[in-house]
């Protein structure tokens, strides 16, 4: 008799726990394919190599771990900028709280609508980039999402969007288990900025598939909300055509478990991609994981990964970043840096930077550092009368600032900077 393997049992449990929504035949086929692939690969378990530093148990366990709601006094993120606001409550689109789905240069519809139409461009994207991103490393939580998600947005930029779309994820129920799947298509020459903010749900699983056409630009800035007890698993799958730009930045403060995966397939020549983030963690129940996989299969493309973390009181940070340069992908310029500032001996940073290169005319570099606050710089500030806690925060912000600078928008980066400053100020005692 076969010994039951928890990996495969759990994948069955996961698929059974969510009701797969209805839709057009092509959509149901895509979901069925994803379900079959999840059954074949199994759910993530701690002993998987790709989950060595992050225990996936709380992402797959039932009942859903409870997450207390946090009363927040500050203004919601991105409220101060002119944007189209779209709101999800516990992973369900809320039309009442949202602006009309109309924006010049952009077509927007709910996922369920797009996936129930017999003919829709979404057919060529839904589950396609996700499936493509399952090689060479398996991403079961993304397959699960494709198989069962009924909520999300289908967004197509046909020109230069006049303002950003901001998607806010409100967490409103202590045991909500959300699956959100967005499709984003940026047509040739078009550009769009998507802002995401908020914790989303007690447990939040999101997938965004982004297809960036020739000379198109996709900008993404995300903050993951201050609710601490949440468990968050996100995937971004991007495909870059000739001369396109892809930029994504994420700020994370708090969170028991966050894993953000970003998988980019650079198929066009002369593209530019930047994936970056900052995270600030406090406490032994903080765990944050950035996992990035960029595949270069074209000529003269540039990619940057810039991640900074500040960790204290036993917090844990993880970075797994890979640059894969395929045969013939000449003149690739791949850069990767991951750095952590540990404020005490109890905090941990695990980094697994990887380069795999099959072309000979490329520039690729990676670096990873762990350090403490620079004592000389600290003393200099103190000697001018800046109080210890404030001086330390200034140095932390300076450290994180190098990643925040990757955001190609001064107002947004200032906003991120200010939020981090406030977060740190609240932690002074």
């Amino acid at each position: 008799m076969a010994v039951p393997n928890p990996k495969f049992e759990t994948s069955q449990v996961l698929l059974a726990a969510f009701v797969a929504p209805n839709g057009a035949k092509w959509a149901m086929d895509a979901r069925a394919r994803a379900a079959a692939s999840l059954r074949a690969m199994g759910a993530p378990v701690k002993r998987d190599e790709y989950w060595k530093y992050t225990n996936p148990a709380e992402l797959t366990v039932f009942p859903t771990p409870v997450a207390a709601l946090l009363a927040i006094d500050e203004a919601p993120m991105f409220d101060n900028i002119d944007r189209l606001k779209l709101v999800f409550v516990d992973g369900v689109f809320d039309a009442e709280l949202s602006d009309d789905l109309s924006l010049e240069g952009v077509e927007i519809e709910p996922l369920a609508d797009a996936l129930s139409k017999d003919i829709h461009w979404a057919k060529d994207l839904y589950g396609v980039l996700e499936a493509n991103g399952q090689n060479p490393v398996k991403r079961p939580m993304a397959a699960l999402n494709t198989a069962v998600a009924g909520q999300g947005l289908v967004i197509r930029a046909t020109g230069k969007a006049v303002k950003p779309i901001s998607v806010r994820y409100v967490h409103n129920a202590e045991t909500s288990d959300a699956m959100v799947h967005h499709l984003v298509k940026i047509d040739a020459g078009a550009s769009l900025t998507i802002l995401e903010s908020g914790p989303g749900a007690a447990r939040f699983n999101s997938v965004m598939e982004i297809d960036v056409a020739e000379k198109a630009a996709f900008h993404h800035v995300r903050t993951q909300g201050r609710d601490h007890e949440r468990r968050t698993m996100t995937h971004m799958f991007g495909r870059l055509a000739d001369d396109s730009v892809f930029r994504s930045f994420t700020m994370t403060v708090n969170g028991i478990l966050t894993r953000n995966e970003c998988v980019l397939d650079v198929v066009g020549n002369d593209t530019k991609a930047t994936v970056g983030g900052v995270c600030a963690g406090d406490g032994s129940d903080f765990h944050h994981d950035d996992t990035v996989f960029i595949t270069h299969g074209s000529l003269n493309s540039e990619s940057r990964q810039v991640f900074k973390k500040v960790l204290r009181n036993g917090a844990t940070g993880v970075f797994q970043g890979k640059i894969l340069v395929k045969e013939g992908a000449q003149k690739t310029d791949g850069y990767q840096i991951s750095q952590a500032l540990l404020l005490d001996d109890n905090s941990n940073f695990f980094a697994k930077p990887e380069l795999e290169i099959y072309a000979d005319d490329v520039i690729c570099s990676h670096g990873s550092t762990v350090g403490a606050i620079d004592e000389n710089a600290l003393f200099y500030l103190l000697s001018r009368g800046v109080p210890q806690a404030q001086a330390q925060d200034m140095l932390i912000l300076a450290f994180l600032g190098e990643a925040i600078d990757e955001i190609d928008d001064d107002a947004l980066s200032q906003d991120i900077h200010d939020r981090l400053a406030q977060w740190m100020e609240r932690r002074r005692s």
């Binding site: 103190l382 200034m394 140095l395 300076a398």
Partner: protein, 251 residues
């Protein structure tokens, strides 16, 4: 003002004594100079007074206006009126010069229960003072000391001193790295702050700075001790003859 008695200091990490009983008394409004061979302990003394970690005070005392300095945190010493112009000013990437200076000025004001400067009050003051020191606006915008030349760093120290208006100023080799004109500027900056109440301790290797900033007393430090004190002439003697005679004299 500043009273140092039999101050003995070693390193925290290793068993090494650097200051071996320093005595120094600087009264209100006085300017004292310290000269001495490399490695004699001049910077160590100024660091210890400012509160740098890594040193172990093994004996003696240091008070500022009667208050025990060595018992205070570095930022408290600054708020109490102590200022150290570093021999090697520290570069701090990512922290803007203006942000830093404004934070420092207002933190000290707050600690002294004085009203904080508004952004425009601060800006006005810093612009005037920077102009006097020929520090251009562009330098003010850059991160603290990053990419500054040696001389620019030293002028930036004096700008900070002028903005913070301390009562006891220690200048550790502020003249090194300065060109002749910059030295004059810096000396003028210092002299402008001499108001009969503020005191200065000027550490230098060269008589030239003391032509501009006239000291009341000159001390020679060697091997962790003040071995000789005298008037301005003592600096001239060092300039002309070096330390050999003085060292021989006290040996």
């Amino acid at each position: 003002m500043l009273n140092i008695k039999n101050l003995q200091v070693g390193l925290e990490e290793e068993d090494k004594q650097i200051l071996k009983g320093v005595d120094l008394n600087i009264g209100e409004g006085e300017v004292h100079a310290i000269m001495g061979p490399n490695g004699s302990g001049k910077s160590t003394m100024s660091y210890v007074l400012a509160g740098k970690s890594g040193y172990k005070v093994t004996g003696g005392s240091a008070t500022l206006n009667g208050v025990d300095l060595l018992d205070m945190e570095p930022e408290e010493r600054a708020a109490a009126g102590l200022f150290l112009a570093f021999q090697y000013p520290v570069e701090i990437p990512g922290v803007g010069n203006m942000t830093f200076l404004r934070t420092a000025v207002n933190a000290q004001r707050k600690a002294r229960n004085e009203p904080e400067l508004t952004a425009s009050e601060f800006l006005k003051e810093v612009r005037t003072k920077a102009k006097d020191l020929k520090i251009d606006a562009d330098m003010l915008k850059r991160p603290v000391n990053v990419g500054f030349s040696g001389g620019e760093k030293k002028r930036n120290e004096i700008l900070q001193m002028a903005m913070l208006s301390p009562t006891m100023c220690i200048l550790d080799e502020t003249d090194s790295g300065l060109d002749v004109d910059a030295m004059k500027l810096v000396a003028e900056g210092v002299n402008a702050l001499r108001d009969g109440k503020r005191s200065f301790l000027v550490i230098t290797h060269y008589q030239r700075l003391l032509d501009h900033i006239k000291p009341d007393v000159v001390h020679i430090m060697a091997n962790g001790k003040i071995i000789k004190s005298g008037g301005p002439d003592l600096a001239l003697e060092v300039e002309n003859n070096g330390y050999a005679d003085i060292l021989a004299e006290v040996a």
